[in-house]
Amino acid sequence: MAAEEDGGEFYLRYYVGHKGKFGHEFLEFEFRPDGKLRYANNSNYKNDTMIRKEVFLTPAVLKECRRIISESEIMKEDDNNWPEPDRVGRQELEIVMGNEHISFTTSKIGSLVDVQSSKDPEGLRIFYYLVQDLKCFVFSLISLHFKIKPI
């Protein structure tokens, strides 16, 4: 069962990171059209090294990811009034769904206060919560697949 059958292409990439004392610290994950989920987490804090994992997801998982995205209505938003990435950090969200392709960049968001005080609180709020929901989903998938339970 090809992923494309479920209503067109699907691709998602999220990045959050900054460059500083501990190198380029970032979290990034990518849902590819062929179903592969790639996850990377990098920091040189205490000389730590990059974590990179990948696994193939079934069409069911991709379908659920698409549902989360369409329910958020992020595809209707635009980042032109969102704060620009800065020295503190940057976030990138790129999604291809059907015939739409969005590629948003913004600074890190500390809390709802940052959202509320921005020039587009409605749109940024959607982004803020979607990112949290996606992280939850990805962290669950990656930790369940790769992490051994202690004891």
Binding site: A3, G35, F56, D79, S103, Y129, Q132, D133
Partner: protein, 198 residues
């Protein structure tokens, strides 16, 4: 003859056997899409038709972006032969969707516990509303237990809402092109040609 096989065998990451340097992918072998995104490998060739684009990300070009996810060194659990669901580190994981927003972990334990001991359960909440997001991930130790749970519960109801249940992880791409990996499993370990010496 070799080139014909290569053509059939094309898989984006395996394309450049000469390139052992994981960081060297900023000069891409795979065609870079005209839109400045990090879609690597064959994905760009499958984008059909023009897309409506939106966002600042198309303006900023970040060479970093292309190389970060292009590296080959991503760990994965090996596939033990053939297409189909993939075993996770200590068991088999299934995805349940259509979970009612007021469902609790106990409801899932009651519905899914009869197929085997539930080793792990993730029932994530919607970060904005606090209700259940709509999916659950359940781990069973044995393949049979997970398989039975899928057969029995796919299409079943929980709190009057229909759920669908399936495997979460698979051995190969969803497009079904994975078969090649089995036939040519030794390919990625082919050694480099010796360097020319002048």
């Amino acid at each position: 003859m070799a080139s014909a096989e290569e053509a059939v065998d094309y898989e984006p990451e395996d394309d450049d056997l000469m390139d052992e340097d994981a960081a060297g992918d900023t000069s891409p072998q795979a065609p870079m899409p005209k839109l400045k995104s990090a879609i690597t490998g064959g994905a760009s060739t499958s984008l059909s038709g023009p897309k409506k684009t939106k966002g600042r990300g198309f303006r900023d070009d970040d060479a970093d972006r292309h190389s970060r996810l292009a590296s080959r060194d991503f760990e994965s659990l090996g596939a033990d032969g053939g297409p189909g669901p993939q075993r996770s580190i200590e068991g088999w994981i299934i995805l349940v969707i259509g979970v009612h927003e007021e469902a609790q972990e106990d409801d899932l334990h009651n519905a899914f516990g009869e197929f085997g001991e539930i080793k792990n359960l993730h029932l994530n909440l919607d970060r904005r509303t606090g209700f259940v997001k709509g999916y659950a991930l359940i781990e069973y130790e044995k393949f049979e237990e997970a398989k039975n749970a899928i057969s029995a519960m796919d299409g079943a109801e929980l709190l009057t809402q229909t759920m669908n249940v399936d495997w979460a992880f698979s051995n190969g791409p969803s497009t079904g092109a994975f078969k090649r990996k089995n036939m040519r499993s030794g390919r990625t370990h082919r050694s480099r040609s010796p360097r020319r010496r002048y």
